[in-house]
Assembly symmetry: C2
Homo-oligomer: 469 residues x 2
């Protein structure tokens, strides 16, 4: 990372944490140069970048100011406890009708689960593909199926090491995307009828998997900023025979919430006390806006209780279908179950990703991607403040590419979804994120696509529909 | 196909069917030229090819003769009915210990489930990969996940059409290999505890899947040449609440048996009468040695009862992990289940295969592959006749790359497996193909690798171990 990028990240951190409040003047170039011990031109470059990311604003002859919407133009939603027992899940039909709506490429994709493909280094990946397939020994197309590509496992173990997790490569099972990893983990630690603790709201695929495997959901409310309510989780673990927890500890989908280091420690202590395994769905881990990557619960796991699932689908190569799980004490069972169901993800694709990780400039790409997403978040927040009713609430996640909106009570987000779709705009209505069909006045919007006039117009249309309720 | 290749195939058919008996003289070049209306040089080329494939033998000054082992040097095994009820399945540990033994590349791979990678056009596939990924529109990496690559679906539908099956491309669900397709099909039509009719012996993965899904096996005996016993199947369907049939109608693994057209019609009539869906595992379909491809049961299916599963893993691209299912009336459910478990096989790999099918010369490759396999079969049969006890029985399949050996009663194939492995030779012992651990004196040997001195020596070693029992 260049010096000016680091400086920009530091100042962005001050803005996010509220040290620099909205409307406040940021240090002059001369002062900043002195404080940070860098040249004035480095400060200028950093300020240009922050302006570009929508965080500060130049005012003629008075310097730079923190943008009003860079803090929080709309208040945060609040998600309290509701159901206390276990719930059968039946949400699949609704989810599929939403997913079907995304097929038309002309729809404004606020409902999408992926960032724009234009943000990914597809051409560079294609080169890695062409190079690696020529270098792949013929017998590898068969032997790599059982074990996964050894280079890819090594590269992944290296990345874990950098983020503070020491893993033998053998603990890693390469899967057909994180979705397969999550499915395998859950099957290894549960039987039909078992109880599983999940988040509320939860990623809709979590609900679909529970439904499919005939598992019962114990919903743990998620605070929009700090993540799951550990007090409620502790109660549920004490009262109910919960067989597994399935949580996203960083940039939770759909809220974008993250547990801080202290909460992660307390969560792991709970798992240890009850000897309940946790499936840590960490597919947004690389999409942090801060300076440091968040450390997963897995980094605390000295008992092998945590199955940590990752993927390239959200940060590098959607559609390549390569994910993995660091399976802890369950790694061998997960690997066997995988061999019995899909055998392996594509071997040449694994080789291509290994080549890219080694030579492709992955970290450079990730820095660009994070900045793009942070900029787009600022644009969507600003746009929402312009077009949505002032009593709308919205999250302000420190990573990922989703905002969660809580509209006034009378808004029915399933109707909103239908009306918006009729005008060529997709969104993900709240009820698909709940086993109990809560969040009827909420919606998840994707800011993973470069912001343009069409996005702005779509927000205005949504604002009008919301106001009409 | 060239004229001389067609002629060779016709004569090979006469040999296989016994019209031309072992030791018998094949028509002289002059006679053959007259009978078939081709030039003498075409006949010579055909005879050279047949000699190369191990079917005929030139004797100095007396012409060509059918080789002794080209017919059947060892008699066929016989597989009778045994268990009549439904059986819980528990075979996985045994299967994994066999699969583990295959990891060492120095082992003679008679136990392998795949042909040699050297028989596949990996370099040409790499070119298709490089070309197609450059041409892939960015948004396809996301949209193709739901529907599968449209070109690949079209190419597959075309190939079905040529083999007499009319399919709308929408009925095709592209999967992570046939293994995923088979798993999905079974889950769509069964609940835990249900009864499923399978073959005895059966492909071991079938048994593992039943075990995993807690389904009960109803074993239908397979005749080594003609396939499942329809009389017994009819009885079982009448007596037991069987929810699905899972059969390989052509080149069954491990026996290599195929149902002829008439038996396929009778099988389909049974399915219709009882309205029981059939999962048709047809992954060896392209590896026929005859002139005509076998037509699947799916070709008779006007009610959508048959889920026809195919794959590129055995005939073109192992390790690419692309298979499919023509799902009949279950296609939509299968597709949804796939979206909930792995979402999709790799999108760029699908594009590469679509490109190869269109431009790569797939049919030319398949002809070469079939001839190589047929030649290797002749070599292994001849070698078995030289080295194995004369009361050994063996199949003589018309396609695929497996021979099934039935050794004298006192041979314990699990011990044989261990002793052979200690000498660097793998094989697939009989009990892994049975829910009831039958076939203790049988083994499946893979002839999918080019025959060489090492193969011959390995057969001699196996012969000595067998004789020692």
């Amino acid at each position: 990372m260049k010096r000016y990028e680091r400086l920009a990240d530091e100042i962005a951190g001050l803005i996010r944490s509220g040290v620099l409040a909205p409307g406040e003047r940021v240090p002059s170039v001369r002062n900043a140069s002195r404080i940070y011990g860098v040249s004035p031109s480095t400060v200028f470059q950093a300020y240009y970048l922050l302006e570009d990311r929508g965080l500060i604003l130049a005012r003629a002859r008075s310097g730079y100011f923190v943008r009003e919407h860079a803090q929080r133009p709309l208040p945060e939603p609040e998600i309290g406890p509701r159901s206390t027992g276990a719930t059968e899940v039946d949400v699949s039909d609704l989810v599929f009708s939403v997913l079907d709506s995304l097929k038309d490429p002309n729809t404004v994709p606020f409902g999408s689960a992926f960032p724009s493909p234009d943000l990914f280094p597809l051409a560079r990946l294609a080169r890695s593909m062409a190079q690696s397939i020529r270098a792949l020994p013929p017998h590898a197309v068969i032997t790599d199926m059982t074990t996964g590509n050894p280079d890819l496992r090594r590269q992944l173990a290296l990345r874990y090491m950098v983020s503070g997790v020491m893993l033998p490569p053998e603990e890693l099972v390469i899967t057909t995307g994180a979705m397969e990893a999550l499915n395998l983990c859950l099957q290894v630690v549960t039987e039909p009828g078992d109880l599983v603790a999940i988040e509320a709201p939860a990623f809709y695929a979590t609900l679909q998997v529970l439904e499919r495997l005939k598992l019962k959901a114990v919903e743990i409310p998620v605070h929009p900023r700090d993540g799951i309510d550990l007090g409620i989780l502790a109660d549920r673990l004490a009262q109910l025979p919960i067989k597994a927890c399935w949580f996203m500890s960083s940039f939770q989908n759909p809220l974008g919430a993250s547990l801080d280091a202290e909460k992660k420690r307390r969560l792991y202590a709970l798992l240890q006390r009850h000897q309940v395994p946790m499936i840590e769905d960490d597919v947004y881990a690389e999409l942090y806006f801060g300076i440091q990557p968040p450390r997963p619960v897995k980094s605390l796991d000295d008992e092998g209780l945590v199955m940590h699932c990752g993927s390239f689908s959200k940060c590098l190569a959607p559609g390549y279908r390569v994910g993995w799980v660091a399976g802890g004490r369950y790694a061998e069972q997960i690997s066997r179950l995988k061999l019995m169901t899909t055998i392996s993800p594509s071997v040449p694709i694994q080789a291509a990703l290994a080549d890219y990780l080694q030579h492709g400039g992955y970290d450079r790409h990730l820095r660009k991607l994070r900045h793009a997403l942070e900029t787009q978040q600022a644009s969507m927040l600003a746009s929402a403040a312009r077009h949505f009713p002032p009593n709308t609430r919205v999250t302000r996640p420190g990573g990922g590419y989703f905002l969660w909106f809580e509209f006034p009570q009378q808004v029915d987000s399933l109707q909103l979804f239908q009306q918006a779709l009729a005008q060529g705009i997709s969104l993900a209505p709240g009820p698909i994120f709940s086993a109990t069909r809560r969040f009827g006045n909420c919606a998840r919007l994707n800011y993973g696509h470069p912001w343009d006039v069409r996005s702005e117009q779509a927000m205005a249309v949504l604002g009008r529909i919301i106001a009409s309720f």
